[in-house]
Amino acid sequence: MSAVIRLQNEPFDAAREQAALTCGRDDIGAVVTFVGICRGSEAGLRIVAMTLEHYPGMAETELARHVESAQQRWRLAGVTVVHRVGRILPGEPIVLVVTAAAHRQGAFAAAEFLMDYLKTRAPFWKRIEYADSTAWVAPRESDALSADRWSGPADMREAAE
């Protein structure tokens, strides 16, 4: 099992991260890559930039714990999580999650689990700069619902594995 977790200011190269995860392995049948991107507008307002604040120390520790938990739950061959912090422009990537496994069900479930965690529990906060104002992003109800999936009894996707 390989796990890469990085917080960084710079943009990342999803293709390079994915290649690093699968390089030299022949036990991987499925790779799921999620890239979150800064959109150019929100509710009709043009976005100038987004700033990601985080809780140094806690963010890394918590993320490592959730990656470890995903690895065990879905028997992953590898995971890479890269989360940017600092100022991000529209069109730039914000977050990368890559999961690799023998079969796709585990790879998909683990990627969704990690994204749900990052959206709802990981200590990161987004502030959006509009042309004339700034605003802290409010949590989305759909993210909370999505995250609730993982705390219940084993879901269909696990049964399907």
Partner: protein, 83 residues
């Protein structure tokens, strides 16, 4: 103990961190929030709706009924919006 503030809680309090020494009677996170609220307008603003403020003790998420005894670092912040 050290307090740390993030996002709009940090903006409202006007600092990223501070050392505090709360009185003996303050035993939970909720009581600490009430005590802070009384320290000034900036704190009152930050904690005006205490239900939406989240807390961590020594970098672990906690509920506001958690005991603060022995804590080295307590953080306050809004709901997380990462990813």
């Amino acid at each position: 103990m050290k307090l740390r503030y993030f996002a709009w809680v940090r903006e409202r309090v006007g600092k990223t961190e501070e050392e505090i020494d709360p009185p003996e009677g303050i035993t939970t996170v909720a009581e600490l929030m009430s005590w802070l609220t009384a320290r000034g307008e900036e704190y009152a603003h930050a904690f005006e709706n205490p239900k939406v403020v989240r807390a961590a003790i020594d970098q672990d998420h906690v509920r506001t009924d958690a005991a603060i005894a022995g804590a080295r670092e307590i953080a306050f912040f809004p709901p997380m919006t990462g990813g």
